[in-house]
Symmetry: C2
Subunit: 253 residues, 2 copies
Amino acid sequence: MTQAAKTGPGSATYDPGAFPAVAVAVDLVVLTIRAGRLSVLLIERGEEPFKDAWALPGGFVRPDETPAQSAEREFREETGLDLSGIHFEQIATYGDPQRDPRMRVISIAYVAMLPDLPLPEPGTDASDAAWWVIDDLLTEDGPGLAFDHTSILNDGVERVRAKLEYTSLACSFVPERFTISDLRRVYEAVWNTQLEPANFRRKVLSTPGFVVALDKTTSNGVGRPAELFRAGQATQLQPAMVRAAPSRGEDKR
Amino acid sequence: MTQAAKTGPGSATYDPGAFPAVAVAVDLVVLTIRAGRLSVLLIERGEEPFKDAWALPGGFVRPDETPAQSAEREFREETGLDLSGIHFEQIATYGDPQRDPRMRVISIAYVAMLPDLPLPEPGTDASDAAWWVIDDLLTEDGPGLAFDHTSILNDGVERVRAKLEYTSLACSFVPERFTISDLRRVYEAVWNTQLEPANFRRKVLSTPGFVVALDKTTSNGVGRPAELFRAGQATQLQPAMVRAAPSRGEDKR
DNA sequence: GCAAAAGTGTTCTATGTACACCCATGT
DNA sequence: ACATGGGTGTACATAGAACACTTTTGC
């Protein structure tokens, strides 16, 4: 074993048969904003281990797939949605030998951001899927997730919070046509904070390529109609959006 | 296969035997600064595939190890150094089915930053290891690396460049006792830029916990002796260091 | 004294913050 | 009319950029 373990792509000999089976999986942190709250798609497990616990959706990487393709396929299979343009970004890989009690499973975690609107409520057809509000999960009184999925979820949420600062990622959380206030509410939900509407608007409009005006307005209910925009081609925000500290009133509910 | 591939941690049945063998490896991007140039540790391959090409050090994850432990062990084995306090940070996982022509290998890449001084020159005992200047590798005329290691190296370097902005990572590139100018030369080497010494000094000293004064001075050659510092306990820089665009004079040599 | 590198002072400007105020719609 | 949310104006504070200037050593 010692001999075999020292071999590898950079070594002279190579004997994969000397290693026990390792399974490679993907786990998905699928985020959206529902009713102003950052939420994640979870699956209720029907089998041991962690029977009846909630877990991130995921599955094994097939022999002919890149892990990113596995993530997209698993998403289609578990949600029934075939949305083009969803981008899965790799968070990290989790490989503790004990993370799955059955066998060695190395899991590559991905995060994706979806707009709220056109989603079939998970839990209608597949009765074991649901959206969970992040703040209800990542606090002491929340239900622990299966395996190391609480860690994965934490890392995925922190990644999204960070990327909002210096990328135009917020547009992924919003429908194709949106208002500046829609975009601001994305930031407020993900960061659990309140942003000054006037300054936020100037910041977004002064960043070239962040959003593109459509010369149309909403015909919503009360208040002055808002201008509509679509996402621009910019991906990086320069300078970055400043992240305010979470405000007490939005901290937990 | 379809049946087996749909099983997994979140599914009812589980048949890992239905999957072909997958090997899990780690690859290491070990960076340091030598003669003012950001450099990486490479190994010259002695076997096919990619015989005589240069590659990142690495090896397979053993059954009882976390991938991070594998990274530390491979580093010890390939350098002969047992430095405590070296931190390996996960970059990403590379899992293209074709990335290794021999079999399916999923590789988890790590990056580490070392100070220059106390390192035995790789290539003395193991005649196939050497430090390469990053700028000589990541340009069109450089030698291509084995496998997808050019991509991994790119991602690792970009990670380090980004983390210099908002963390105190630069202290990892520098010996235990250092001057503000030493620290500035780290930024200049990693970013290929020139920083204003006066403004850099104020920036570092005004960030609480970035560095701690030792009330000693260097007795170097020419010029006024500099105050010595050690790394502080801070890890995040708030506000971040601003990254200047690469200057033409330092761009390539 | 002079060169060289370290360290301080100061001005200018860009950018974020706070808040007052006006605009356009539904009821 | 007035409540409500959208949008603009403006004064202030913070912090980075640029550069002049002083300090402390070796030669």
